[in-house]
């Protein structure tokens, strides 16, 4: 029982990070029906920028650690928002009326460019996140959780809540939902779709930046290639929950994290040692396939007609 509880905690932490990144995929898809494959790389840039700021400020600036950390996160969010705006303006806006495949391939191109830029700037080595935090461990019911894990889950949930408030309770959110339904009609109602789409990219990128910082703190390192796998997992989470649906991305992210965790922990005993924990990812994607076979539009997704 304590093992199950521990695996659920492990999965929850991983899942809340997936969920934050998945939201970026799902928001862009909801408005443009574009899968922004560069989103994973934005997460990576967020992690890298935060680490760079920390390394620059930590030795001898005399500032309190909390302030430096806040500056690091703030800097990462700012850089990623600008990056999101830039990607949209340079790579996607000129192709908005082009066939969807063109934009998809462009997205993959942007992802490769970002990876290589990061490799040139930060090198091929893993970069370490400075050990600025005091990690405390709490035991309960035979399982343990650290203050860092609690902070990650709490912050992720808070950000998701804030996003829901923005989308469903503000003028900006209403404009976003209107643009998602029909950009042309929204324009007739006085909404500027270009601005709204750009803002959607910026918000998604900000979420990705926070997630990237979380990954870097949690695992203590970052790497120019880390965005690829993270992006792939988060994209799967978005599809699992029903792409284009905000609640779906959150649910999908959390579920994927937990399934992965339980899969790695129990696949050995369940198959009598026939399959080991090296099948962790296989297990997660098997669940994804199973869900999509029975619910092709994802758990919370609605079947929508193809839009031309």
């Amino acid at each position: 029982m304590d093992i199950l509880l521990q695996q659920l905690i492990n999965g929850l932490v991983l899942g809340s990070i997936y969920a934050l990144i998945a939201l970026g995929y799902t928001m862009v898809y909801g408005i443009l029906e574009l899968i922004n494959f560069a989103h994973g790389e934005v997460t990576m840039i967020g992690a890298m920028v935060c680490i760079a700021i920390l390394h620059a400020l930590l030795p001898g600036s005399g500032l309190p650690v909390v302030l430096i950390l806040a500056l690091g996160v703030g800097g990462a969010v700012l850089v990623c928002m600008l990056l999101g705006l830039g990607i949209e303006r340079v790579a996607y806006r000129p192709l908005r009326r082009a066939p969807r495949l063109t934009a998809l391939i462009t997205a993959i191109g942007v992802s490769i460019v970002l990876q290589n830029v990061a490799m040139l700037v930060w090198g091929k080595q893993y970069v370490s996140f400075p050990g600025v935090l005091d990690i405390h461990r709490y035991e309960f019911g035979g399982a343990s959780i650290t203050n860092l894990q609690i902070a990650i889950v709490a912050l992720a949930l808070l950000i998701m809540l804030a996003l829901l408030v923005i989308v469903y309770r503000t003028r900006l959110g209403r404009a976003m939902r209107a643009t998602a339904q029909s950009p042309d009609l929204a324009a007739l109602m006085g909404v500027n779709p270009d601005v709204i789409i750009a803002l959607t990219f910026a918000i998604g990128a900000a979420l990705a930046a926070v997630a990237g910082v979380m990954v870097a703190i949690y695992y203590g390192l970052a790497h120019y290639y880390m965005g690829f796998l993270l992006g792939l997992k988060a994209f799967s989470a978005a599809v699992l929950g029903g792409i284009g649906n905000l609640g779906g991305a959150m649910l999908g992210g959390l579920l994927l994290g937990i399934v992965e965790s339980l899969g790695a922990g129990y696949i050995g005993p369940l198959t009598g040692g026939f399959l080991g924990s090296n099948y962790q990812d296989v297990f997660a994607f098997f669940v994804l396939i199973l869900v999509l076979v029975f619910r092709p539009s994802g758990l919370l997704g609605e079947r929508v007609g193809e839009r031309a």
Binding site: Q7, N10, K124, Y126, E139, S144, G220, G265, G276, N278
Partner: protein, 396 residues
Amino acid sequence: MQIHRNPRVLAVSLLALGLLAAGCSKKTETAKTADGELIVRIGSVAPLSGPQAHLGKDNDNGVRLAAEEANARGVTLGGQKVRFEVVSEDDQADPKTATIVAQKLVDEKVNGVIGHLNSGASIPAAKIYYDAGIPEISPSATAIKYTEQGFNTTFRTMTNDRQQGRVLGEFAVKNMGAKRVAIIDDRTAYGQGLADEVATAVQAAGGEVVAREYTTDKATDFTAILTAIKAKQPGVVFFGGMDPQAAPMVKQMQSLGVKAKFLGGDGVQTTEFIKLAGSAGAIVTASSPGLPIDSMPGGKQFREKFTAKYGPIQNYAPYAYDATNAMIKAMELAGSAEPAKYLAELPKVHFTGVTGEIGFDSKGDVTGGAITLYHIVDGKWKAVETVLSGSGTGKK
């Protein structure tokens, strides 16, 4: 392929072919220096570009130092004074490039090869040297498979992963006092090979492998497998893999409250690991093949000679130096630099090199190899114990 019908093109092609043939035939002649010394060419292959270039250059310098010393000393083979020349090639640490440069060295008819640096590059290249009958001594490849391909031309001066795995497994049970050992590997040829050897050695030493878990060489989250391991209450967690995985793994062991020591191989024993693991590195013991340079029989002297010429030693230069000397000694025994003749003498070579006793067993593994275990003290790896591993194939 398009066939040239134009006679002019044909003529030019033939001319080019002729020139090429002429260029080749020139190389097959036995070259001599102005003083009538016979030139013996030793190929030296390592990554000379890319992220491992510093290690590659280090190996190359080790070969050069040995060749220069032999030249200064003056070596006579079968009554003929010889002069050693080093032919350096860059394999970029890439298996495909390794086979290309190996073929190039074979075509140039070098007398022997010191290299390659990486196991992944040495293994495919070994076949090319074997087919040409040219001896190859790697100063740094540790993968078991390197000497197990059935090639009599393949040797190494570095202890292999089997020898390392045995020492690690025994160390976990006997020195760290763990009756229960959990083993994780990253499913790469290196990680899996090392982990399998450790598992065997743990059982042989009377310990029990209570968990066998797997990850990949790209993963960063190990909480799930570590939770499963925690329930089995091991005294030691062994990881066969590299530092980018080991560092977060050690951190996650702490945050999950796994009360076990962490043991790793040479993929973990890096300066990078210390940086990435931070304070969590306190529970870590890791091994590295060979001796710390100051414990080597000729270590101090070698360091002075080498540093004066090439700057600080990176890692494997002493092994490259010993490998080159082993090759030269075999040539002296045979009285010839002909690969076919001195190859038979290589297994008989025995001498005290910089790194220790150098000799080869029937597979070409070094017989006197050592494994050293390290702890992290004040942000640096500090040697705690050196174990002589004995032969890689025979007795302990």
